[in-house]
């Protein structure tokens, strides 16, 4: 009888231990996931699907690329990630939060944890370089002194400190792109989403911008870049998703 009770005791203890450990493991797994996409579908117009059943997971601190030919759904996927558009079907968690359930008037909470670099830069052309970057901090109500400190630091980082009082239209493409990047990272976001950040740039400038993203990534920011530049991917890629006709064709982790 004694042996049976010892066995039962051992059984219950080990059961509790296993449950505890699995819970820890699940929590750890959940904790590390920054972007989780489950079976995402998007249709703009029948019968074509821009995205067909995309599932992917990007962890905290990852440096990822999404690549594929034009029209493969890269930009659509990115737009869904920062919720400019809604998917037709599927689930999407960002930092363990179902962003599809966030009401429209609260969407700024999501956008404030993201830095977005657009293909067309989307700079405010009637504002100076300094104000283009500072606007993000002004939205957050950061004190003037702190705004100045952070913007100066970033402009130095992107090597544009001597052009901060100029209007974007007086800058080259590469410089405008660097302003857009500075604006995206100025509020220390958890995620950076960049859509073709090196499109229209020469190779040297493209590498310079990629190095900039790498430096930001080393501080713990998750970076997700959409590009079709294979050279860059080969050089910088750690986790790559190949998209083709709205489907993930292949995943690679280097």
């Amino acid at each position: 009888m004694v042996h049976v009770s010892v066995l039962l005791d051992f059984y219950s203890k080990s059961k509790t231990y296993i449950i505890e450990q699995s819970e820890k493991l699940i929590l750890q797994l959940l904790k590390t996931a920054m972007i989780e996409v489950y079976n995402l579908w998007k249709q703009y117009q029948r019968p074509n699907w821009a995205l067909s059943g995309i599932s992917m997971k990007i962890e905290k601190g990852d440096f990822c690329f999404i690549t594929g030919p034009s029209g493969s759904g890269k930009t659509t996927l990115l737009k869904i990630l920062y919720r400019e558009i809604l998917p037709t079907q599927g689930q999407l968690l960002i930092d363990q939060r179902n962003i599809l359930r966030i009401p429209d008037h609260k969407i700024y909470v999501l956008r404030r944890m993201m830095g977005i670099v657009f293909q067309d830069f989307r700079l405010l052309f009637h504002k100076k370089v300094f104000d283009n970057i500072a606007i993000v901090l002004r939205i957050l109500g950061v004190p003037k002194k702190e705004i100045r400190r952070r913007v100066f630091y970033l402009l130095r980082m992107v090597n544009l400190h001597n052009k901060m009082w100029e209007y974007p239209k007086h800058l080259s493409y590469g410089e405008q792109q660097r302003v857009a990047i500075a604006r995206a990272v100025v509020n220390n976001p958890k995620i950076i989403l960049a859509d073709e950040p090196t499109g229209n740039l020469d190779t040297e400038l493209a590498y310079e911008i990629m190095n900039l993203f790498k430096r930001i990534n080393k501080k713990g920011t998750t970076v997700l870049i959409c590009t079709h530049d294979r050279e860059l991917i080969r050089h910088f890629g750690e986790k790559i998703f190949f998209l083709y006709k709205g489907k993930i064709l292949r995943r690679e982790s280097l």
């Binding site: 700024y108 989307r122 606007i135 002004r138 939205i139 950061v142």
Partner: protein
């Protein structure tokens, strides 16, 4: 933090106002015109009210007595008038005195009166009311009381004028609010459309602000302030224009209208009326802007 955001919104507003100065000036002009119309009629109504008050202040009550009235009744009426707390001064006018007074005032009609075989003027009591002693309703009550006294044929006082002037005042106010109301409604739509145009012109900027984490309130605030400023400046401008009109109007009319000049002259608005006009302008500006944002910005 809120203070910082407000200053930023204010700067953005001023920048917008300057950037689209042409259309903003146009909307300012319309608001100004609308409130000027209201202001002019309010001012006219104020003038009527003033005249009515003046008449009320110098209210003369004439009690005409019946023919062959007894001394006893005359004394009773005199005592009633003299003891009244509303009356300043009482004088008894005999028929002869009344006739003489008439002949003095209208010498050209002397012949007609002298040709009459009888004296048509009844004896009367003339009473001057104390200044500010009577409100309009109290006056009517007092006159009705007098009428019921024995020996009194009729009581006259400048009640009709008082009533007419007060009716004019109400009419001027009503016309002003009706015309002004239509124009204010028009200016509401004009502000609404101008803000809509401004939103359209800044659509890409609004899009960028949204994507960088701006709240709806943050995006809306500069446009709302813009509406309030337009409404405020428009209504304040209308008050300024009104002040100029009040100053110049008598010069333009001169004395050509004689006693009528007094009747159609403008009077400055009271402080509370000025505040009401300015608040009204600001509210119209705010609501015009808000309705445009609610319909058009879709945030």
């Amino acid at each position: 933090m809120i203070h910082q955001k407000f200053i930023f919104s204010l700067k953005e507003t001023l920048q917008n106002l300057w950037q689209f100065k042409g259309r903003n000036l146009f909307s300012l002009f319309i608001i100004c015109l609308s409130f000027l119309i209201i202001g002019i009629f309010l001012s006219l109504s104020n003038n009527f009210q003033y005249i009515a008050k003046q008449i009320q202040k110098n209210l003369a009550i004439i009690a005409f007595l019946e023919e062959g009235i007894s001394e006893q009744n005359i004394n009773a009426i005199r005592i009633r008038l003299e003891n009244s707390p509303y009356i300043e001064e009482v004088s008894y006018i005999t028929s002869e005195q009344a006739k003489e007074n008439f002949s003095e005032k209208f010498p050209e009609l002397n012949n007609i009166v002298s040709n009459l075989e009888i004296n048509p003027f009844p004896p009367s009591f003339e009473a001057i009311a104390k200044k500010n002693a009577l409100s309009y309703e109290e006056t009517i009550d007092f006159v009705n009381d007098l009428k019921n006294m024995p020996g009194i044929d009729d009581v006259q006082f400048n009640k009709d004028w008082l009533e007419r002037i007060q009716a004019f005042s109400r009419l001027a106010k009503a016309v002003g609010f009706f015309l002004g109301g239509i124009l204010v409604l028009a200016s509401f739509f004009i502000i609404s459309n101008i803000i809509k145009l401004n939103v359209l012109a800044r659509k890409s900027e609004i899009e960028i602000l949204r994507l960088t984490g701006a709240t709806n309130f943050f995006i809306r605030t500069p446009f709302l302030i813009e509406g309030i400023i337009l409404g405020f400046l428009g209504s304040a401008g209308s008050l300024l224009l009104l002040a100029i009109i009040i100053k110049l109007f008598p010069l333009y009319l001169g004395a050509s209208l004689g006693t009528l000049t007094e009747l159609i002259s403008f009077r400055y608005l009271s402080l509370s009326q000025c505040l009401a006009v300015i608040t009204g302008g600001s509210v119209i500006g705010f609501s015009g802007s808000y309705s445009s944002l609610a319909r058009f910005l879709n945030i």
